[in-house]
């Protein structure tokens, strides 16, 4: 950013670069958010389960 100032006038900031107003800005497509990880139920201890049924 460059500050341009002349006596008797308001100083203005001149940026390094500005977009060319003659070129329409294209809005980029939103980046798809990663899907939520699928929750996999923790494997059950088969022996415990079976033993529970038996009891």
């Amino acid at each position: 950013m460059m500050r341009a100032h002349q006596p008797g006038s308001q100083p203005i900031d001149v940026p390094e670069t500005i977009p060319n107003p003659a070129i329409p800005r294209t809005v980029p497509n939103p980046v798809p958010r990663p899907s939520e990880p699928i929750k996999v139920p923790a494997p059950q201890q088969l022996t415990t389960h079976l033993s529970g049924v038996c009891n």
Partner: protein, 340 residues
Amino acid sequence: MSYAYRSQDLFSLLQTKAPVTTATLAANFRRNEYGLLSVGLKIHCLDNGEKFKELIEGLGGASRILDVNYFKDARASLCLVLPPVGSATSAIHLIQCIEQYIGSPVLANSQIQLQLCSPGRLSARASALLGIAFYLGSDTLRRYTQADLRTTFESSFNHPRGIRLVLYDAEGDFDRNFTWWNYRGGHEPEFPFASGRTDLLIGPGSRLDIENINLVATLLVHSEYDGYWSGLGQEFRAEMEVILRRHILAGLLDAPWVRQPWAQFGDDDKFFAALQELVAYAYGESTRVKQRRLLQFGMWRNVHARSPNGILEEMQRLLFKYRKAIERQSRLVAQAGESP
């Protein structure tokens, strides 16, 4: 333009991280589009260049790849010369492959200055038109300091290039084996000139910059070397000069935009004054467009400029008109069966 490696070696390397884009590029990289010129690229890296380390090592190491070239941006840690490709599309693909390989953007990156190389040395006046068309046609309006344009060849004994936006080559290696459309539309296997380039230091560049420079350089080079687009090139020059006259900027064309062998003391400053005048006019135009929008809508709206007289819009229309003319006419050439 010296690059001490084979294109195939570069593609093999890029394929490891960008397989799809590299495959497309490798299949088409010398293919010509619409009779436009080939495109060369140099990447000047202003930071420490760490991102390019793996790529450079893969190509044979800095001593083999970088140190053979003395030319670079005066502030750059390295200048990577890429092999020339047949079209702007392939040049953009090549940059995309490199972006994927290094995992960092090359386009629109303030730490990377791009140099775009076009075959054929343009006259002083055509070089001025090329520089002005690039600036006004870019999607970004830039301010420059002379430091932005200093290279290691600024005061070279054999090939002094001064402090300029437009640079001639230093008579190094030149690949002329790209398709050239002659004045009858016939496709020659090589350029009509054995050497010579006109380059532009575009700074942080964009896809549009590459496409625009390729288009304008083609029109200008064909107009000076009697190529197929010579007629369109002459019309383009005339229309651009009318635009500059209408905006009281015709005097910019008399500035030394490229350093000629007969350059005089103070020419660097004369050129830079002309560039600053162009930059100030374009920035002023941008402000006027914003003010018009405010007046028109009573509040800020993010719509593009619709001024019938603004130089920025006129430049866009001119580039669009000639791009479409070339695309349309090149289809007729293909349909007429004049392709080899």
